[in-house]
């Protein structure tokens, strides 16, 4: 475990040195993240000018849900997405995966950590601010027990989101070059920002179990606003065990298929 922290520290330091050289780009990318928040707030404003609640959730609850989903996405983007994107588009095709395969660490984790994007963490600050604003402005009262369980589920949700991110890029082992896999999780994450009740029941079941992306944001937030339900906690833990095992299994299967041929 200690060596992973050390590797993370070194890679983050490298990323910082790299990003320092391109302040203009970092500024644009941070501005992009902030603009996305602004545009979404305008969209929510349009939605809630026509309805008081969305699937039983008011404006501030939906705003909090959105901010929370964005925090999970941004942390994952800062930590793992750069590496996973490059894996999907380059590492396999160019044979660069050899480098990660030959190190005495888990290649999946090393690939994920290989290209951190520190500027994504700047967005997290704004997103936390938005979440706090939603709670304060919406006069949402939260119990201490709810908060503690919410934080635990948030961490578990982040782990689950990471597994789903890996699952979306793992086909690169077989297809060699598929750039569209890079942003697949980003597109699918759109559903995380809305209450689960918005979706038809059939889709909801799929998004809660087959590809449980709405469970990541909806269950912790629901638990924060309502009564603590032990079934939610057990459900998330079960999902992590299943998807963690599945991700590891498919990744190893892919590794066996990898032939190191560069082109």
């Amino acid at each position: 475990m200690k060596k992973y922290f050390k590797i993370t520290w070194i890679l983050f330091k490298n990323a910082y040195i790299r990003d320092k050289k391109i302040p203009g780009q970092i500024f644009s990318k941070t501005l992009f993240n902030i603009s996305e928040i602004a545009v979404t707030i305008i969209f929510f404003d349009v939605i809630f000018s026509n309805t008081r609640t969305l699937a039983g959730w008011n404006f501030y609850q939906v705003l909090f849900l959105y901010a929370f989903a964005k925090i999970i996405i941004s942390i994952n983007n800062g930590w793992a997405r750069g590496g996973l994107n490059t894996f999907a588009s380059e590492y396999i095709r160019r044979g660069d995966f050899d480098f990660y395969l030959t190190k005495p660490v888990n290649p999946m984790i090393l690939v994920s950590l290989s290209k951190p994007r520190i500027y994504q963490f700047i967005a997290v600050i704004f997103e936390i601010g938005l979440a706090v604003y939603a709670i304060v402005a919406g006069h949402i009262s939260i119990g201490l027990t709810n908060l503690i369980w919410f934080l635990i589920l948030a961490i578990l949700g982040m782990i689950l989101y990471y597994f789903l991110s890996v699952l979306t890029v793992v086909p690169a082992f077989w297809f060699i070059k598929i750039w569209s896999l890079q942003d697949l999780i980003g597109r699918l994450s759109q559903v995380m920002r809305y209450p689960a009740g918005v979706f038809p029941s059939f889709i909801r079941v799929i998004l809660m179990s087959v590809f449980p992306i709405i469970a990541i944001s909806y269950l912790p937030t629901n638990l924060l606003f309502n009564q603590v339900k032990i079934e939610y906690i057990i459900y998330i833990v079960i999902l992590i065990i299943i998807f963690g095992t599945l991700t590891n299994f498919i990744w190893k299967l892919g590794q066996r298929h990898y032939s190191s041929a560069s082109s």
Binding site: G24, Q25, S28, K29, K177, I178, D183, V198
Partner: protein, 264 residues
């Protein structure tokens, strides 16, 4: 002209070689349509609303269906002038007996053609799934819609080429182009009909040319614009295209003098 047509054909075949990429990309982007469909259906049914700013539920869902098609024709992901200039590979196009700009545009058009071609089966899928919530246009409106969409492609290309050409002067513009592309989607009507915006914002979007990219064609499809309004829109679009191309040309010509071809 023939050489550009040949380049277009070659590019088309080249892009088509990576079909899986486009198909995954399209499937992933279909998520947007179904998310918006679910949200607006929920709003209309939960409040028993028949119309929001003159849009019925069918109008709104059809609007998203049409914009999901127009998004496939967004050229920003299919323009490479910035990248080639930044990497230095632009030299390869510059030294050949053709216009490097027209070659770039030919490639963009080829990629858009592939995207539309591969999107058609998914269009059909959406149509089958959401059949009860979609409306079909009259033949006249369909023709007007297609003309507007084609003009919209050139308006988009002309606008973004300006920022691509800035690469000659200020280096890589990729981050700025992505930011701009995201910001433009709102006043263009890519996220929801512009009529849904608060009045002040709606007035601002009416002054900008971006509404011609999504809102205008979608409303033509829905039969919400009269023939004279459509013709007036075309006139304005052509004026904007000329203006943007002139600005681009000026930046491009001055940029060529600075171009060293060394790449990064």
């Amino acid at each position: 002209m023939l050489k550009y047509l040949i380049y277009y054909k070659v590019a088309f075949k080249d892009i088509l070689a990576y079909k899986a990429d486009f198909i995954i990309y399209i499937i992933a982007n279909m998520v947007f349509f179904f998310v918006y469909f679910a949200i607006w259906k929920n709003i209309y049914t939960s409040t028993s609303t028949i119309e929001i700013h003159n849009y019925t539920l069918i109008n709104t869902v059809t609007y998203y269906f049409v914009t999901s098609f127009i998004f496939r024709l967004d050229p920003t992901g299919a323009m490479f002038l910035n990248e080639t200039v930044w990497m230095g590979t632009f030299t390869n196009d510059l030294i050949k007996p053709w216009s490097a700009v027209l070659i770039d545009i030919s490639y963009t058009l080829a990629e858009l053609s592939v995207r539309v071609l591969l999107y058609l089966p998914f269009c059909l899928f959406i149509f089958i799934v959401a059949f009860n919530y979609l409306s079909l246009p009259s033949l006249g409106n369909l023709v007007y819609f297609l003309i507007t969409v084609i003009l919209g492609i050139f308006l988009n290309i002309a606008f973004y080429e300006i920022f691509h050409a800035l690469c000659f002067h200020f280096g890589d513009q990729e981050a700025n182009i992505s930011l701009l592309n995201y910001l433009v989607a709102l006043p263009a009507g890519g996220l929801f009909p512009l009529a849904f915006l608060p009045e002040t914002l709606h007035k601002i979007t009416n002054v900008l040319p971006f509404r011609f990219l999504f809102d205008t064609p979608a409303n033509i499809y829905l039969g919400k614009l009269t023939t004279s309004e459509i013709v007036s829109s075309w006139g304005q679009m052509i004026l904007w295209i000329v203006l943007f191309f002139l600005i681009f040309y000026f930046i491009y010509r001055s940029g060529l003098k600075k171009y060293t071809g060394t790449g990064r």
